[in-house]
């Protein structure tokens, strides 16, 4: 469990045991594996075939699919938690994905890289270049992050949609940051939302 990515570790710690969970963009299923050990009924959606194969091979219920198109097929309130980790910024229509997420799950965990992190700002403001950082490791032309956002963007969006933030966590690398000036100081954010 210690090897879990920091945002996933936070999510894993805060999902109630034995709950029903949908992990959207579940990768090779590392979070699902931990949740399964907590007695959760975990299901996953993943777009990359190699990841799906790996996850199914370890006995997880993972469906090859696309968050942008396949969430509509899940019934309302099908899950206690819907999880979207490091995937929101890769969606073609993040607003629609989030709407579907809140329809399917009673709660939703959303984690994303913060584009207002000071290193990112520095790179853009002083270097005049699109940032390449540990959280955003890929050049502009090959990044999957087609809808970059900041913590404050997300807060505004959540408010506008009338959603409630139950809890939020801010991270730089694996270190927790306080809420103060998180939009400047945090590299990542994890939000727990409800309708």
């Amino acid at each position: 469990m210690s090897e879990l990515r920091p945002d996933l570790a936070i999510i894993a710690d805060h999902v109630a045991p034995a709950s029903r969970v949908l992990d959207v963009g579940c990768g090779d299923g590392e979070l699902m594996d931990v949740l399964r050990a907590k007695g959760c009924d975990a299901r996953g959606i993943e777009i990359d075939p190699a990841n799906v194969s790996h996850a199914v091979g370890r006995g997880l219920s993972v469906v090859q699919g696309d968050a942008d198109t396949d969430l509509v097929n899940y019934p309302d309130n099908a899950f206690d938690y819907a999880i979207l980790s490091q995937t929101l910024q890769t969606a073609r229509a993040p607003d629609k994905v989030l709407t579907e997420l809140m329809r399917i799950g009673r709660h939703a965990f959303v984690s994303f890289p913060n584009f207002a992190y000071w290193r990112v700002r520095l790179s853009l403001a002083w270097g005049g270049r699109m940032p390449v950082t540990p959280a955003l490791p890929v050049s502009w032309y090959e990044t999957q992050n087609i809808h970059q956002l900041t913590i404050d963007d997300f807060r505004a969006f959540v408010k506008e949609r009338g959603l409630t933030v139950e809890q939020a966590w801010f991270l730089t690398g694996s270190r927790r940051r306080g809420e103060a000036a998180a939009n400047l100081r945090a590299e990542h954010a994890v939000f727990l939302l409800r309708r």
Partner: protein, 380 residues
């Protein structure tokens, strides 16, 4: 258990029945030819039913009695394979309507003393599955650890999950569909018409003379075989290459109607070798059963309803990207229905150049996925 005469290769059983068929008829007795591999656990928990495709048979991992070829799924079934006799008790039965020993049109009608031919009742995929359930009862198997099948075998697995949800813990559906599309039905009708247009078919009563409608059945097989492959696969294997001729290694056009192209020769071979091992009337009956298959139709048009009782069954669906006969969209429709029903489901589209036939061929990724899925169900 090993000396139990019910278990082993080349078995058959005559069950009293009657088996009530979807078409309204009652079939009695019911003959089922089958094979088992491995040993049934004391608690009967390690049984896997393998459902075969249209022209398949019970010889899943044993030598075929007519062709002398190895079993049709030795890539998946055998020592060290995902389905392993060392761990599993494997059952594979010839489907109802077929011609390798189970009741079908070639079976002698006890009422008349002659083969049923076209007087055999039209059957459905559900009828095949009900017959398999009777066989499991006979073998003393209550719940299956898994039902596994590709193509029409996958249809049977879906039907198993819908009809006997409590008897299937894990369901593996490879290159399957929950219904036959207009295109699927169209191809089958071409095959059936080819058989019925052969003067030797004689309305199905050809058994006495030993002179079956081989030409018609061969054409049916040729047309069907094209649908099992992919354009890219055919191009890679044959392209426009010509048959070798004496003195001409690279071939030459005959300016006639011999099999000039390698693909022509290949298809003719497929057709001719098929008639040695398959019965034309069985081909009519089984293609008809597949055409009638529409799992949603049986449940008010909503596929999710078909799986309402299957919440405890784990599903694994696999499709192939070059399969245009049972394309990925068909598998996705099933996945969506299973999600709506709340059943645990895994799904992936594998990449293979082999089209629909990929499920029978060497696709290591398929074995890896099935192996992991089955082991997880067994708690290994």
């Amino acid at each position: 258990m090993t000396d139990d005469s019910r278990f082993g290769l080349a078995r058959s059983v005559t069950l009293a029945g009657p088996l009530r068929l979807d078409g309204g008829a009652r079939l009695a007795p019911v003959e089922i030819a089958y094979e088992t591999y491995g040993t049934l656990d004391a608690d009967g928990s390690n049984a896997i039913l393998i459902c075969h495709a249209l022209t398949g048979d019970q010889h899943v991992a044993s030598t075929h009695p007519r062709t002398g070829k190895a079993g049709w799924w030795t890539r998946m079934v055998g020592a060290g394979k995902p389905i392993d006799p060392a761990r599993h008790f494997i059952v594979c039965a010839n489907v109802l309507g077929s011609c390798l020993g189970s009741s079908g049109p070639a079976t002698v009608d006890p009422a008349t003393g002659t083969p049923f031919a076209m007087r055999f009742p039209v059957i459905t995929i559900r009828d095949m599955v009900r017959a398999q359930a009777l066989l499991l009862d006979h073998l003393g198997i209550g719940t299956l650890a898994a039902a596994v099948g590709g193509s029409m075998g996958g249809m049977q697995v879906l039907q198993w999950a819908a009809t006997y949800p409590d008897r299937v813990r894990s369901a593996v559906v490879i290159a399957g569909a929950a219904r036959h599309s207009a295109q699927n039905i169209a191809f089958h009708e071409v095959g059936r018409q080819a058989i019925m247009a052969d003067p030797k078919w004689r309305s199905g009563d050809y058994y006495a003379d030993g002179d079956p409608p081989a030409a018609g059945l061969a054409v049916a097989r040729m047309a069907a075989h094209i649908t099992y492959l992919s354009e890219a696969g055919l191009t890679e294997k044959f392209g426009r290459r010509l048959q070798k001729r004496p003195g001409r290694e690279d071939g030459a056009k005959s300016f006639g109607f011999d099999a000039d192209f390698q693909i022509e020769s290949y298809l003719r071979h497929q057709g001719i070798s098929f008639v040695d091992r398959f019965d034309a009337n069985s081909y009519l009956y089984i293609t008809r059963a597949m055409d009638y298959f529409d799992l949603a139709e049986e449940h008010g048009g909503l596929l999710a309803t078909a799986f309402a009782g299957s919440k405890k069954t784990r599903f694994c669906l696999v499709s192939f990207d070059t399969d245009w006969l049972y394309p990925t969209a068909e598998s996705r429709a099933i996945v969506h229905a299973l999600n709506a029903a709340g059943a645990p489901v895994s799904f992936m589209e594998l990449s293979s150049p082999f089209g629909h036939d990929a499920f029978l061929l060497d696709v290591p990724e398929l074995n890896r996925v099935i192996d992991g899925f089955l082991r997880a169900g067994e708690g290994i």
